[in-house]
Symmetry: C2
């Protein structure tokens, strides 16, 4: 019973066409800010600190400098804060400042395969945009690139419609720092204590970055507020660096042939400067040597004999390219190089945990590098058990991706899943089904990778790739075994203590009883007690 | 013990600067495709169907046409499918086709406040991009805007680096359809049955869109595969439309003053064509009349007397603008208009459930419109209970946003939370703590809004705004009450049946016993049984 269609001509389509418009990426993210971690004022404040700290640490590492960070919060209204993050990094050249802070999707790390905290070139400019939207205030950036250079100060506001920076101020200033960058963002926020606090976040940063010195100045209320005005300001927190060794430099690598999809492969064939297939494969990819080329040609011999090492990449027809791509997938190729990774290391992670978490027992494991979807990655796990940590609560889980602590969406993260999936009872730790273990314990899990597969752009959880899950499990098992040994030993000692105390407690009573029954002298009784104690002590030790 | 800093000059900063690059939004989403719902082949296939169906339904509604959709899948390799979606919509004018299908963030609905399925102008071009990346195939689009116009067919491939379309083919063709659009996307996918199946998804679409006719042709394997070749193809599924009434047209509205943040407000002041503040407020916002202006001026009298209705918007200083924005927030303003919403309606939702879900009892509630963050929204809940649905399993929850079924991330959705938070035992339904109720039941929850706050760009879950949670709860409670009444009544009937069956079963025995004890004749016995039955029936009914 379909009714007669309403008369439709090009008119309706034309009318609809007139409404079509391009949407700028900053308009998109402004409206969808929760995608970037700006869902609510408390999270927005933490996200802003995190983005600024990530950038500062990345910059120091790229310039091979030991990071010295100053993180400060000022409360300027009940719901308004200024976040200040200052580093001793290499500084930013003047022409780049506006784009880095006033344009989304602008950065140096998106197109490289290299481990770094920032990936997309969105974070800090999004924080600035959120500040602008909620308070109208621009980002203030101070930067100096060397002793002999002048320091510059900028005020930058993102033009959301154009996704481009408006420079409101740009002037030379006096600055005592020889080099570094200082960022100030004013935003609507809420300062919270507890699980998602900035304090907790910085402590976790300190665990994963033992080569960094971090000074944290908690918010001073600069607003009139009688109730709070008399409260003592919170003391500043200083995390001293624990090593003067810089982390090994993470090298940039080329993509691995097994990690490149057909669509990307086709594009690479078109874009390459290589004149023949051999050159293309050997320059654009990692791990392609003569053996791989020879094996590939054998794979192609039947299906597409017209493809040879001398074929021009641009001249390979679409269908042939697909055959080539499939054949490449069948050829055995060495795993990608792993000098693109910079793990914390078992030793340093252990020392960092020892200094930041009070406990009785520590264990750390750094797994060998592995690969998912062509991307190298490496897992580390650390564990701090006992001490004054509460025994009847769930273990604390510190999650890290490229040394950045992950704060939200714990339930959605592969790391959480790997921890809850482990049968902790095997390691003498109690655990409710599907839950984190119940123990006086901090667990730290770190993934280092050239491309961390986050489940959302706000970098809150790692996707459940089986290869990643497996490596985390193996590392957890190793730590778990050591922990179980420690707990067994501790229990054995405790048991012995207990038995000894029983002996000490009951043998004299037995002596007295024997004395009464057998009519022993006091001396006979005491000798009997000593002998009995001896015999029992010996039997206990056997 | 800070070590001497490594020598840093402008050199390092310059070197780092050279690496900075703009990232195109399509490169970003290609690398982060899981943000758009392309995490894995099964989800990618469903997401692609969904985006095409959303667009088809939106287009029909914008042109006020009763939608007639044809959805077809072809399996062309083990892991490769062609998705075909054809509609009878108004068609797309030729110049727009490449951008709509070959450019992310291009669309007609982002800048308008109006209820529609699509919001961002990302979905269909992202599906095309995923297809291109995984199979190298472009999107094929056929479109015709009217009987007297020629049909055109295009092949469009997105240029990821530029976020711009490459037109591979553009030609006139013969097409029997007077107007409409046909989209074909080839992609890597997996066809699954069960909870996240395309079948299940389309059934849910049919429930929320009773004015649409949908024909679904499940995949025919066009590949050689001996095992399956003999299998009967699945039959096509036809959802007939249940009404010839088009849904009420959703009007576009202007923003409400209480829903505009300071940053946006500042920008609007700069961009407006209005020459004075009164004109600005009355033309750019909804619900601003003379009373609001007068109240606003009273609010400002103390703090900023220099601001008057005649002040030029562009000349309001930054600080004054902030004061103005705050004052506006304190003025009482009528809730936004709600003709921008187009709910399904209690009646149609009930009929749709009746026809698509076999059950004993149905209840539907459409709540009055409400507002969150200045955005109007409206909640509907439908319930289908009993029948042949399994009694000892969790209830099925259909979640809808602007008539689009949400398929993934159930646990992260405000709708799920509202359902699990409801004390179902009060409504005579059993429920484990924190879980969905256990009952032979389908629950459908629908939010209609000019801006649905999804927790991710892949549109899988609705964010937990308290206003939204409250409306869902109220609608669920109303349905729950009606369900409880139904269950009570049914139980009462069942109890009566039971009692009656007891009477029928035991009274004759009592008759025989009395006969033996008192030596009654058969006739006396039968009369006694009849009298007893009568008395008991009467007492039971009282």
């Amino acid at each position: 019973s379909r009714p007669a269609p309403v008369a439709v001509g090009g008119d309706m389509a034309t009318m609809l066409a007139a409404r079509q418009r391009e949407i700028s990426v900053s308009e998109f993210f402004a409206k969808n800010r929760h995608l970037l971690g700006f869902d609510n004022p408390a999270k927005a404040l933490l996200t802003t600190v995190r983005e600024a700290v990530d950038n500062a640490l990345d910059a120091c590492e790229e310039a091979d400098l030991l990071p010295q960070l100053h993180v400060e919060l000022e409360q300027i209204r009940e719901d308004r804060f200024r976040v200040i993050v200052e580093d001793n990094g290499p500084g930013i050249v003047r022409a780049q400042v506006p784009k880095i802070f006033g344009k989304l999707l602008y950065g140096s790390r998106f197109h490289t395969m290299k481990q770094s905290r920032g990936q997309q070139g969105i974070g800090i400019s999004a924080a600035g945009m959120y500040g602008l939207l909620t308070t109208g205030r621009p980002v203030v950036i101070t930067s100096r690139t060397g002793k002999r250079k002048a320091a510059h100060q900028f005020e930058v506001a993102i033009n959301t419609k154009k996704n481009a920076p408006d420079i409101l101020r740009d002037e030379q200033i006096e600055w005592e720092k020889p080099h570094g960058t200082r960022v100030e963002i004013t935003l609507e926020g809420t300062y919270k204590k507890g699980r998602h606090s900035i304090d907790g976040y910085l402590k976790q940063v300190a665990v994963a970055n033992p080569h960094a010195q971090i000074v944290y100045v908690p918010p001073v209320r600069k607003i009139a507020d009688e109730e709070e005005a008399t409260a003592e300001p919170e003391p500043r927190v200083v995390y001293e660096r624990m090593t003067d060794r810089r982390p090994p430099e993470a090298k940039e690598i080329r993509p691995h042939p097994h990690g490149v999809e057909l669509g990307i492969f086709l594009k690479m064939l078109q874009d390459t400067k290589a004149r023949n297939l051999r050159g293309f494969l050997q320059t654009e990819f990692s791990r392609v040597g003569n053996k791989v080329i020879a094996d590939l040609m054998r794979e192609l011999a039947q299906e597409a004999p017209q493809i040879t090492p001398k074929t021009s990449p641009k001249r390979i027809a679409r269908h042939d390219a697909e055959v080539l791509h499939q054949a490449l997938g069948r050829v055995k190729i060495m795993a990608p190089p792993t000098d693109c990774l910079s793990p914390i290391g078992e030793d340093l992670l252990q020392r960092a945990l020892e200094s930041r978490v009070e406990a009785d027992f520590y264990a750390t494991v750094t797994r060998p590098p592995s690969v998912y979807r062509g991307n190298p990655f490496q897992i580390e796990v650390g564990l701090a058990y006992g001490g004054k940590q509460p025994a009847d609560e769930l273990a604390q889980l510190y999650r890290y991706a490229n040394r950045v602590p992950l704060q939200y969406q714990r339930g959605a993260c592969a790391m959480t899943r790997a921890v809850t999936d482990l049968p902790w009872r095997n390691y003498k730790i109690s655990q409710a089904r599907g839950a984190l273990p119940t123990a006086p314990m901090v667990l730290a899990v770190h993934i280092a990778s050239v491309w961390v597969p986050f489940t959302s752009e706000s970098k809150e959880a790692v996707a459940h790739y089986p290869e990643i899950m497996r490596e985390i499990r193996l590392a957890l098992q190793e730590c778990g075994r050591r922990l179980a040994a420690h707990i067994s030993k501790r229990r054995r000692i405790a048991d012995e203590e207990k038995k000894r105390s029983y002996i000490a407690k009951y043998i004299p009573q037995i002596g007295i009883a024997l004395q009464e029954i057998l009519g022993l002298t006091d001396r006979q009784r005491d000798r009997t007690v000593t002998t009995l104690t001896d015999v029992l002590e010996r039997s206990r030790k056997m």
